[in-house]
């Protein structure tokens, strides 16, 4: 797919000037951390559950082939088919072929990041299929011709007025007044999509998890759209990543207990559905055909490397919601389907480092992402790992490489290093001003970092340097 992450800086700057996006992000910064921590504090033993969640993901990844084959055999026994795709293009071709086999014209979808990743809608549209997203957020951005700006709340950047305008443009109805109220928009979307649901030939969903023990594809939503997508059309196709499999229902339970709490601060989402194959002979309703497409697309290359840890990710979005960079610039700035800390680690693996090298660099490495991750992924370490590789592969700017070389040279000359650092610390103290409680803070610097100082300040260096203090402590 067409990924333009190279101009991250430019898009980040544009995002900072978008009032709707900034309001949504500010709401997220204020609300999400408290919601999440309250929901997790209600658990009897959050730390133990997190350890267990990590363990269950590591176990499944360590024996991925075994569990995928077990899952496949259960799906087959239930009358479904499993397809394997090495690349996004291969997956797109498989899904298009299945639609053709079903004689389909109309396709409905529930939100799936993997189908975004492989650009499935474009593939199907190119074959003349009419594809409609049914998750309300996805539906809104589909009408606007945009990509998701958050992995769970894809229309985070769209204002209510813009939603109203999109509906007025696309829904053919006679109106007496403009559409301005959220309740009316919801009713209208529900009515419009009901007709689409009933007319669809194929339903495509992702899967939050696959359970090897029972062959279940697990769908988690709050709207209930995935359940209709998986029930009404004659064919249901699940498109998901090979890493989504877990061994047992117990593992699923552990991860479900953490997923919605980490994501939205709720104990569970409204709907958690285990799908086991097509309609049975005794049933009057439900899809007659059931397919699962397992997509690799760069994932297997991470196995057995230190980067394997990102495959534990359950897409809860906690790392986005707590990231000072994501919550300042939003998802579109990343230019990749996946954004925030998990996106900055995953995008280079899927799209290659050449176009994504700026993403791992777009982090302060403050560590909040790792602290809130329900499966304890060491995101800062993985970001540093990609940075190193980007530098070695020459995907960084010449100015950046020059400054790193200068730093390296300086660090190798201790006397000079101490002198320069002392000079810098002295300079910073000189431009600092008195603040509260006898502290000194730096409010601006001549010529540099104007953007930074427009919204925040810096503490002035106090006392001696670390090295000086260390020497003083030696006996």
């Amino acid at each position: 797919m067409d990924v333009k992450t190279a101009d991250f800086r430019q898009r980040a700057r544009a995002a900072l000037a978008q009032p709707t996006l900034q309001r949504s992000l500010q709401g997220m910064r204020r609300a999400m951390p408290a919601l999440r921590s309250a929901a997790l504090a209600a658990l009897p033993d959050h730390a133990a559950l997190r350890d267990r969640a990590r363990e269950s993901r590591d176990h499944a990844l360590a024996h991925l082939g075994h569990y995928l084959v077990a899952f496949e055999s259960r799906v087959r026994a239930a009358g479904g088919e499993v397809h394997w795709a090495r690349t996004g293009a291969e997956a797109g071709a498989i899904v298009a072929g299945l639609c053709e086999r079903a004689g389909a014209r109309r396709v409905i979808k529930s939100k799936s990041m993997v189908t975004e990743e492989i650009g499935l809608n474009a593939t199907l549209a190119a074959r003349g299929l009419q594809v409609t997203e049914t998750d309300l957020g996805e539906y809104i951005i589909q009408l606007r011709g945009e990509s998701p700006s958050h992995i769970l709340a894809p229309a985070l950047h769209v204002s209510l007025a813009e939603v109203g305008a999109a509906f007025e443009r696309h829904h053919r109805r006679s109106r007496t007044a403009p559409l301005t109220e959220a309740g009316a928009m919801l009713v209208e979307a529900r009515e419009e999509l009901r007709a689409v649901f009933r007319a669809a030939d194929v339903g495509i969903t992702g899967a939050n998890f696959l359970v090897a023990e029972t062959g279940a594809a697990v769908l988690v939503t709050n709207e209930g759209n995935a359940d209709l997508v998986a029930s009404l059309p004659a064919t249901h196709i699940v498109v998901t990543g090979i890493e989504k499999v877990v061994a047992t229902l117990d593992d699923l339970g552990v991860l479900l207990r953490l997923l919605a709490r980490s994501a939205i601060g709720e104990p569970l989402s409204s709907y958690t559905t285990l799908v086991h194959g097509p309609r049975r002979a005794t049933e009057a309703a439900g899809p007659a055909a059931f397919h699962v497409v397992l997509v690799d697309d760069g994932r297997s290359a991470l196995l057995g490397t230190p980067r394997q840890e990102i495959l534990r990710c359950i897409r809860c979005s906690a790392c986005l919601n707590h990231c000072p960079v994501y919550t300042a610039v939003g998802g579109h700035a990343y230019g990749s389907v996946y954004s925030g800390p998990m996106g900055a680690v995953l995008a280079p693996a899927i799209d290659g480092l050449a176009t994504t090298a700026q993403l791992p660099a777009a982090s302060t490495l403050c560590g909040r992402c790792e602290a809130v991750c329900p499966v304890a992924i060491p995101l800062p370490r993985l970001l540093r790992d990609w940075r190193g590789e980007a530098l070695r592969a020459g995907f960084t700017t010449p100015a950046w490489r020059r400054s790193l070389r200068l730093w390296q040279w300086l660090a190798a000359h201790p006397v000079l290093y101490r002198f320069v650092l002392g000079l810098a610390a002295g300079g910073l103290r000189l431009v600092s001003v008195p603040a509260r409680r006898g502290e000194r803070r730096i409010r601006r610097l001549p010529l540099v970092a104007r953007g930074w100082f427009a919204v925040r300040d810096l503490p002035a260096p106090e006392g001696g340097s670390f090295q000086a203090r260390w020497r003083a402590r030696q006996p």
Partner: protein
């Protein structure tokens, strides 16, 4: 593209793993029905469902008729996933029952369930000859009647129950916590995005001394 399967499996390996961890940090819920019902009600109402108790299936049916009157909803109900807990419906003269086919948009559906989970406030339905999942998801109001023995502790107890179901497993096992909602039109979340706008759960109490 059968080559893809072999190619992927060759990359990721297929060794037989040791048994997965059985260590599950179980959340224990009270064994006593009344306390469990209380826990269930607290969790379900926190997710915008409403919860009532009834002493018998007949009382449950009368309670449903009262509920529809209070909500100003028509007395016509679509019945699906019938269990003995729904036995009172046929004798409740204030209700008009419809079975078979799918409910219209805006309809009320009354269902039994496979289980209800006290620790989560969740009701669990399974598809089968007597129940299509869409009869719940297309309706505007979903009323669930839970038999006394169906009120389980938590998710862990549900997995235990699923393991005892005869093969093949139900096509769909639906865990439902409160009404359908969306946060895509801003905060606070709005109810009734695609699925039901109202979820009302009636817990039938065990017979005294039974």
């Amino acid at each position: 593209m059968s080559g893809a399967r072999e190619a992927i499996l060759a990359r990721i390996g297929r060794d037989t793993p040791p048994a997965p961890s059985a260590n599950v940090p179980v959340e224990s819920a009270p064994a006593d029905w009344a306390q469990r019902a209380q826990r269930f009600a607290a969790c379900a109402t926190a997710a915008s469902a409403t919860v009532a108790t009834a002493d018998s299936p007949q009382a449950a049916a009368a309670g449903i008729a009262d509920y529809l009157e209070r909500q100003g909803l028509p007395p016509r109900v679509h019945v699906s996933a019938a269990t003995p807990a729904l036995d009172g419906l046929v004798t409740e003269t204030r209700l008009q029952l419809a079975t078979g086919g799918l409910p219209d948009d805006g309809a009320t559906v009354v269902t039994g369930c496979l289980a209800a989970l006290a620790g989560e406030g969740v009701v669990v339905l399974a598809t089968g000859p007597g129940h299509a999942a869409e009869s719940v998801f297309l309706s505007a109001t979903h009323i669930v009647v839970v038999s006394p023995g169906q009120l389980l502790d938590s998710l862990d107890a549900l997995w235990g129950l699923v393991r005892t179901l005869p093969a093949p497993l139900p096509r769909m096992v639906n865990l439902i916590l409160g009404p359908s909602r969306t946060a895509d039109l801003g905060v606070p979340s709005r109810l009734g995005a695609h699925g039901p706008l109202r979820v009302h759960v009636v817990l039938v109490a065990p017979v005294e001394g039974a």
